[in-house]
Symmetry: C2
Subunit: 238 residues, 2 copies
Amino acid sequence: MDVARSEVLVIGTSVACRSCQARHGVVCGALSAGQLSELGRHSLRRKVDAGCEIIAQGSENSFYSNITRGVVKLCKVMSDGRQQIVGLQFAPDFVGRPFVRESTLSAEAATDAEICVFPRNLLERMILETRELQRSLHAQALNELDAAREWMLTLGRRTAEEKVASLLHLIAAHAETATSTAFDLPLSRAEIADFLGLTIETVSRQLTRLRKEGVIRIENIRHITVPDMDALAKKISG
Amino acid sequence: MDVARSEVLVIGTSVACRSCQARHGVVCGALSAGQLSELGRHSLRRKVDAGCEIIAQGSENSFYSNITRGVVKLCKVMSDGRQQIVGLQFAPDFVGRPFVRESTLSAEAATDAEICVFPRNLLERMILETRELQRSLHAQALNELDAAREWMLTLGRRTAEEKVASLLHLIAAHAETATSTAFDLPLSRAEIADFLGLTIETVSRQLTRLRKEGVIRIENIRHITVPDMDALAKKISG
DNA sequence: ATTGCGATTTGATCCAGATCAAATCTCCGT
DNA sequence: ACGGAGATTTGATCTGGATCAAATCGCAAT
């Protein structure tokens, strides 16, 4: 854990998990008041800056988290440096791979974020004890699997323009604004490229192409508006 | 269900699921004797030919299965015909997407196969009733998620030669022979292309390239031997 | 305001893999 | 054995996206 780039807000009190529960964190939302209090005593709330590595690829899975604010990217890197983002997670998702010792991917805050961290052993014990927690984590795993497979279609069979449009559509769907026609990109151009299996140059060219076609407006480098969401959707062949 | 291309072996007796249990089917392996008997009374064993569609994309999820023999491919197709295989499943995997009404992908037998089919409602009730079944399906979902993410790296960032080598490596790992240095391809060239996000021509060229390099021998169109598994692994940049 | 540096865009060229086209190979039915 | 049709391989060419190169932008530190 990169302590230098994170700030621990609360340690070792049952207060720690109130925030998760209030936000229906996948873990905390499934626990009884008593369990929540026990979890709270052993958990901590962390504020992490964009870019902070929460889990390192190849490291031991010694803790898990709930995301309470912000966006987390899941990334796999090859020994020669090529890398691929294999998932984006948003509040109130659970982050971690239960029941496996070593992580096969890294998890990194894509934006400034807040997470609620619990020790591995305690969480795994609670999963075994608590039907509702297992059910809730099972449901998240199935949703992530659906998302991963949808993304496999994008990676394998869509063109660069369709890929970029798919990403914008995905981000818009998770944007917190009611209109969701204007949103901040949680990813840099390089991260977008790593998500789409493209280069930054191609991402940039496709964004300017969508802009010239009038499908999006690039208010500034991190902020996009979509005048007509259907026009964007039409760019993604179903 | 494409009944024309399948053969129902046993219907409506508690015998039906013995085969799943003996093979440690993900579902049947998690049930008590009493539950197994109830499941057996409502399940049926089917023999399906290669190419038989088990679940159609967009259809209602009205039943689930255990694979007891053979290989099943999970496939997504776009309206313009482009398609992507998003998963391969082997015995004793469970096939289906619990808790979702409509299937977002199709499942098709890649080889001749046998599956044990249960009705949706019964299985979902048993999941809610039975810790061990939920645990077991949760574990499979997590494993499929790991596999899907590994494959996203392959789709997004590996070259055609690395992709083909990755596929051969994957198949070899699931081959049932003890040596696993010689195996049958469960997929045609077209299916391999759809799994790797390539065209059949590129798949064919990469296979002959690997053959000319001495990494594989193509005994016949569906049968490969790998003289030195490490040489194959070296073709896949980690 | 000015400098400096990383992020982004834009331009020029290249190339891995797609596309188009044609042989071969397999295997099934007669 | 003989057709014949689909599957596979091989060849020729094209092209979308990569790579190499150079502005330009954004913004934090001075």
